[in-house]
């Protein structure tokens, strides 16, 4: 379980008149077995935050530290699209991100493929799988590195409602078993309430507008009244702080 600390984080894109502020003075800290959702309208800097946390992008200014018991934490990533190597089989895609190719590593990869119910598809190429299956491989790949912290960038937004729902349940189960710290970006409040125990609300201009704890027990059912009430409360917060305002 990782410790994430973000201090005075700024990120701009472009220069001069074209300058766009993606993140402005973001401060936060995440620790323990947390499932933190980052929600907000399109263009509020959610994905930028995730890219900076994972090291794909560098911040304009500010500090980010992600540690695990004092040492730099080991991270995994699930993208919006599965981002599998199309010329490698499913198993080779899993092995691509591993430290080694030992027998234990292979067994671990197989174990996580079975967790997403694709244990028998290791020798298939990604092109032979459906979009939902590919995304499941992406999730298994991220968990198979046994990361201290897992970043997920709208991983279900490209999928149909039924597949997405199944995968959310699977994700919740795997998270409960592994106890990885998860930072989950989504534009979907319902998804955030269903999965997370903490919701960070971002407003336009890359401001962290609110920080909400969700204490309902897992697994949560979207049809449950308590979940629906919480969802309504989060939406209310959104309206209060103007996070939903579309300029």
């Amino acid at each position: 379980m990782a410790e994430i600390t973000v201090q005075n984080l700024h990120k701009d894109f472009g220069l001069g008149a074209d300058k766009v502020v993606a993140l402005e003075n973001v401060n936060l800290s995440i620790s323990g077995k947390a499932f933190v959702s980052v929600v907000g309208a399109s263009g509020c800097g959610k994905s930028t935050l995730l890219n900076i946390l994972s090291g794909i992008e560098t911040p304009t200014s500010g500090n980010v530290s992600i540690t695990q018991e004092g040492r730099p934490a080991h991270a995994g990533y699930v993208f919006q699209a599965a981002r599998l190597l199309p010329w490698r089989t499913v198993m080779d895609n899993m092995l691509f991100v591993q430290q080694d190719r030992s027998k234990e590593t292979r067994e671990r990869c197989q174990h996580y493929l079975e967790m997403v119910q694709l244990g028998d598809r290791g020798d298939k190429f990604p092109g032979q799988l459906s979009g939902g299956m590919q995304q499941r491989v992406g999730i298994a790949r991220a968990f198979s590195t046994e990361p201290d912290v897992l970043f997920m960038d709208e991983p279900f937004s490209h999928l149909d409602a039924i597949t997405a729902r199944t995968l959310r349940k699977e994700l919740n189960t795997i998270w409960a078993e592994t106890g990885t710290t998860v930072v989950f970006v989504t534009h979907d409040v319902g998804e955030a309430v269903e999965l997370s125990n903490r919701i960070l609300v971002f407003a336009k201009g890359g401001r962290l507008a609110d920080d909400i704890d969700v204490t309902l027990p897992f697994p949560r059912d979207v049809a449950d009244t308590k979940v629906a009430v919480t969802k309504a409360e989060v939406f209310k917060t959104f309206e209060d702080i103007g996070a939903l305002a579309i300029s």
Binding site: R83, F96, V97, G132, H158, D160, A161
Partner: protein
């Protein structure tokens, strides 16, 4: 899929037992194999008609125009290794193939280096771009003449012609490959901390491979042609030189027959090497026979057959963004 369509077609055709032979004929007629076999027959008929027409207009031509039987007889002798030329067919093609192979390897190496540089740097691209187009536009004949003047008769001239013919194609393809590198996959590798060596080996090179392969295929097909022209002028042996040998001997059937042998050899080589290599390298591609798929869909539409209930569907396909 095709079996499903056939079943559907039968149900819509109704009870027409008498037309079964006709349908069988139609199946044979529509098969790609029938199309392939018909083509040479049509060619043969056109050939014979052309001789007939030309000799009625200009009777002297009867000595010059080779008949199919002369040409096939010549080709048969060549295939059996019987020839009056200095080298038999197999030696000749081995000589040419060696020049082509060396030329292609050089073209691939130079082209890949320049192509990568052009794809990565706008300045390098601007520096080479016009020259690539110029080399591309230059006729093989000009290269052939120049190289035979510059390097005399031997292996060097024809090989350089192959290099010059192939290199622009390799450059353009590799440049496009570099410009199309999958940046999202590089980001993924960086997010997982995959070592650089592994990224180059498993992401960069496989993503360039289809472009390199297309380049090799092009430079093979065009390099052959350039090589033959170069051998006519600057060779002492090889396929081009042997065609000229038969030309100098006033044997029209020799010229045509050797050209045909050359075409057959190139086709067989292409089939054996590139098709097999393509199958091995790109087996990850979902639909290789894309043309067949289009044809099947077109047929399905024109028949307006009811969709069989077992039609495969993709419930997991990306469709909507919302969720319940």
């Amino acid at each position: 899929m095709s079996a499903d369509l056939r079943v559907a077609g039968r149900t819509t055709a109704g009870p027409q037992r008498a037309s079964r032979t006709r349908r069988a004929w139609r199946t044979v007629w529509r098969s790609p194999l029938a199309g392939r076999l018909t083509f040479p027959i049509v060619c043969l008929i056109v050939w014979l008609l052309a001789i007939k027409v030309v000799t009625t207009i200009w009777p002297f031509a009867v000595d010059v125009l080779p008949t199919p039987w002369q040409v096939f007889g010549f080709m048969f002798d060549e295939i059996m290794g019987k020839t009056v030329a200095p080298h038999n067919m197999y030696e000749t093609f081995a000589i040419s193939l060696q020049r082509l192979g060396i030329g292609m390897v050089i073209a691939l190496i130079i082209g890949t280096i320049i192509g990568i540089a052009m794809g990565l740097s706008k300045a390098v691209n601007a520096f080479f771009n016009d020259w690539v187009v110029a080399i591309l536009a230059m006729p093989n004949l000009a290269w052939a003449l120049f190289c035979s003047l510059a390097f005399g008769f031997g292996d060097i001239g024809p090989t350089i012609v192959v290099v010059l013919t192939g290199v622009p194609f390799v450059i353009i393809n590799v440049r496009e490959g570099v410009r199309n590198t999958p940046t999202d996959l590089f980001d993924m590798a960086r997010a997982f901390g995959v070592p650089r060596q592994r990224v180059i080996r498993q992401v960069l090179i496989p993503s360039l491979l289809p472009f390199l392969f297309a380049a090799a295929r092009y430079s093979f097909a065009l390099g052959w042609k350039g090589l033959v022209v170069a051998e006519v002028f600057g060779g002492q042996d090889g396929a081009g030189w042997t065609i000229k040998f038969w030309y100098d001997a006033h044997r029209a059937y020799g010229v045509v027959g050797y050209a045909l042998l050359f075409v057959i050899f190139a086709l067989v080589f292409e089939k054996l090497m590139f098709d097999q290599l393509s199958k091995r390298l790109f087996k990850w591609r979902p639909a290789i026979d894309a043309a067949d798929v289009v044809e099947a869909r077109f047929d399905a539409q024109t028949k307006a057959a009811p969709q069989p209930p077992t039609a495969p569907s993709a419930p997991d396909h990306p469709r909507s963004n919302d969720h319940g």
